[in-house]
Symmetry: C2
Subunit: 117 residues, 2 copies
């Protein structure tokens, strides 16, 4: 995944600059955890507007930015659309098994609490 149009490229940490504490902070928010789960389930790039989040657009933008800045997702412009993808390879490379166990824990909690998950 490359960032083409230089003027529109968004800053991302390199893999080696991703920190566990930052990843944990990023996913400790319910809305951001929901975004991560949806990206993991769909296994595809999604635009921000494809997420049906019960927050304002500016709050949503903030959440995607926190995920990007902490190395959890990659945001790339494709034409006029900003596409979001999970940095699964980077996260699995740095912290093998962590993402899977986080997603499993989130699934389990959703079932337990009767969320739509």
């Amino acid at each position: 995944m490359t960032e083409t149009a230089a003027g529109r490229a968004l800053p991302h940490p390199e893999r080696e600059d991703i920190r566990l504490e930052g990843v944990l902070h990023a996913v400790s928010d319910p809305m951001r955890l929901r975004i991560v789960r949806e990206l993991a389930t769909k296994e595809a790039e999604l635009t921000c507007s494809q997420f049906d989040l019960p927050v304002t657009k500016s709050t949503s933008t903030h959440h995607f930015r926190v995920l990007r800045e902490n190395g959890v997702i990659r945001q790339v412009y494709r034409g006029t659309a900003k596409m979001n993808a999970l940095r699964r390879d980077d996260l699995d490379g740095l912290f093998p098994g962590l993402l899977a166990s986080l997603l499993a824990a989130a699934d389990r909690q959703s079932v337990r609490l009767g969320d739509d998950g």
Copy 2:
């Protein structure tokens, strides 16, 4: 582990009230992650003062409280000492494998960054 002297018992969430997001928030701070790793390694109750944290006493107290209030540790008075223990059974019961993968990720990062871990 019971809280004996009622007047001095500290509030803890019941297992079923522990939330993944809260746990992730609690361990997303470097000092708090360090406390959790030390409790996991020692596999024993430790007093707050047994942790050699580079922060003030009040900051340290705050970190232990965040861990307790989010269900990550149990704090119990034994005589005059406040003892800290990881709620491993509760966390493993709610989120099987999560604590282990968090600890493994933290170990791996320490090695990679050359921290004393």
